[in-house]
Symmetry: C2
Subunit: 427 residues, 2 copies
């Protein structure tokens, strides 16, 4: 049992007000939230007592859309037009990636996630065995998102992977059905995946409506928007997550709302690639479930939920021409709770007894958090990685006071990643 005491707790369990109480964890779960009696304290043996010294404990952030191993392309090809970036830089480099590359660059991403208070990722990439190994070794939680695309893969491959990774029954690993995007999938592939959704009564997730070009192309091919097409195929019959959702029609929004599909917004990536601004405040008004992701480091370039939350709110205030748009409380709930639910992690959405012990401690004794006028506003409007004192995933402290505990020295990860990045350029 680990005891967190002498701080405040933002449970996000139907409350967005920090409260003065304790949190105890036992194994991978939250065991107690409240103010213990002397009797309780006397009868409990703690392996560690952590004095929060007035700091804030809250649910960790979850990253509802990413490609972790793309850290190898961070700052490799920036400030380029989108087409050149993708076709001349990203695709040729990705074609050379090996399982070993994916393993090390995923570990690099995990370091960055932890220092930003993120404990889970909804990840769409390839070389999954190596990817899973990097996560399991690090103690990091991940939900694989099927990434089948093009002609080399088919729904059978997706089903095999789905059964294999869910069959592991590993507490940190699960998989959801998915495919890359309409523009990289054949009609037949999408039909086959819809049949899998029906067979397993399972949600399906994919990139959708990231750019205006993508929507235009889909209309040319099918006379439908991506959302309309997916709906017509039955892909959303059991829900799912649609990544990006920058260019939606009113009809698209009604489909997502009716199906309970999670719209996962990626404000940093959409801005950096000049894809546009997702109408998040409007989508919330339409009753659409919202979550946040970082996307990959090639297009972001950081894997930092503080920056993601901040940009999300700023863009909405500008787009809506209303300083009151997208208040901090909505943003925090999206990053902690919405993003967990979008990837099916229904036990990681808040601080409550029985939930997974996926949490973080925010250091309030930094200038950007002072004075203590309003901690939740501070988190979104002035918070940064500087404030992450501790990150816990499944009851294990993986990051504390700048020190990582992921079973691998971070300097070795940096060194190996630089070697591999250099060798990739030469391959």
């Amino acid at each position: 049992m680990i005891r967190f005491k002498n701080g405040t707790v933002l449970t996000l369990n139907n409350s967005c007000e920090p409260q003065s109480c304790e949190v105890w964890t036992e194994g991978d779960k939250i065991a107690f939230v409240g103010n213990p009696t002397d009797e309780q304290l006397k009868n409990t043996a703690f392996e560690r007592e952590i004095d929060l010294e007035g700091d804030l404990l809250m649910p960790s952030f979850k990253n509802a859309h990413t490609h972790s191993a793309m850290t190898f392309l961070r700052s490799y090809a920036d400030d380029l037009p989108l087409h050149d970036w993708l076709h001349k830089q990203v695709f040729p480099m990705e074609a050379k990636l090996t399982g070993e590359d994916v393993y090390w660059f995923t570990k690099l991403a995990i370091l960055e996630y932890l220092s930003s208070g993120i404990t889970a990722s909804f990840d769409m990439y390839f070389e999954l065995d190596d990817y899973v190994k990097a996560n399991v070794e690090s103690g990091f939680r991940t939900v694989l998102c099927g990434a089948v695309s093009g002609e080399r893969e088919n729904a059978k491959v997706l089903e095999e992977r789905y059964l294999k990774y869910n069959g592991l029954k590993h507490p940190l690993i699960s998989m959801q059905l998915g495919f890359h995007a309409e523009y990289t999938a054949s009609f037949g592939l999408m039909e086959d995946i819809a049949a899998l959704a029906e067979k397993y009564k399972a949600p399906v997730s994919m990139h959708s409506s990231e750019t205006a070009d993508e929507v235009w192309g889909c209309r040319e091919r099918y006379g439908k928007t991506p959302t309309e097409l997916f709906e017509s195929l039955g892909l959303y019959n059991y829900g799912g997550a649609a990544f990006h959702c920058v260019h939606l029609t009113k009809e698209d929004e009604m489909i997502l709302a009716a199906r309970g599909v999670w719209a996962v917004t990626n404000p940093c990536s959409n801005s950096k690639l000049s894809s546009g601004v997702a109408q998040v405040a409007h989508m919330m008004d339409m009753g659409i479930n919202m979550a946040i992701g970082t996307d990959g480091a090639a297009s972001n370039n950081a894997l930092d939920m503080f920056r993601e939350m901040y940009l999300l709110s700023m863009l909405q205030k500008i787009e809506e021409m209303d300083a009151a748009a997208m208040p901090a409380e909505d943003v925090i709930k999206m990053a902690c709770t919405g993003s967990a639910l979008a990837m099916g992690l229904t036990d990681c959405d808040c601080i409550a007894p029985g939930k997974q012990a996926d949490l973080l401690v925010i250091d309030l004794k930094k200038p950007n958090m002072q004075p203590l006028n309003n901690t939740v506003k501070n988190l979104v409007y002035s918070g940064s990685k500087q404030n992450v004192r501790l990150t816990m995933c499944a009851g294990n402290i993986l990051y504390e006071n700048g020190v990582y505990r992921i079973g691998e020295d971070e300097q070795r990860i940096y060194a190996r990643c630089n070697e591999l990045a250099d060798s990739l350029k030469a391959r």
Copy 2:
């Protein structure tokens, strides 16, 4: 003499490429930049040798528009419409501020500046004696910007302050002529300040064209935009800095370019208050001098140049619908060099012998800076306060590895600021 060795240096002295060399500082100045000979090393006594271990040394950031003491209002009144924020929250609270408040809340701002790599501020506020005391005690550089406004102050007051603070001849303190804004100044006050500009051959700085309402009001009163009005009065005859510049006409832009006036952009504040997006890429094309400021914590809410640089670039990429807009190199130069020149700090603009030793060391051994594909892109697109290893102002190390050296314990500053913030609400 302090020696920085075994790292790379981004001098911004006509180069935006990091180079492998050393930097030595002597007193408040940079004494040497280059690769020393054995002879030079033998003949030099160092009081301290700092092993950069591969990290990056660069010019510090300068904050070209702020109201430091407004930290007392951080997260006090967020997510409100602009009018309510200003008239119901900010103005009533500011009216209660004392010199002691300004002193402590300025110290809080300085802590935040240093942790973000900022070593100088162009600050517009009141209770200047207390403000100056806080800066001098901390070893922080500031340029006061005249803030006269309304009816209780006049150009005579401004001139007295201008002579008084420049008369101190303190190496860290100077003052420039200025006033709050057109909408808080009488025509006579602006005429009188233009006469001062002529008398001292000095630049004049002010808020300008922050909101559409402001420009509309000025047109109603004078039949001119603020920029046209200031130009017609001769206020820009010796240059100056115009804070915000969100809503400019083509004619305004031509005036700023012709006069060499610095347009100081404040992307975080303009976004949070929903004022709009300054057309920075376009202004640069027009040949306007550009600088960056954080504005005050009441409207930002952080005093963090990494966030400011990032948002600036993202907003331009979206506005221009071009992922290649506002490349990282231009942003870095704006934050380090442009902002120094905008406030008249011509000795603090780059790393070169004889310049002031205002610099920072970036910790590259953090996941957001890896792999080392491109350090300058990393600074803007994934950099954060987490990467600030050391901040030096005028040759003094004021922040290093999370430890402040400003002659005051930061916990005492937090405690005092919380007491004063609480008492302000009750006054």
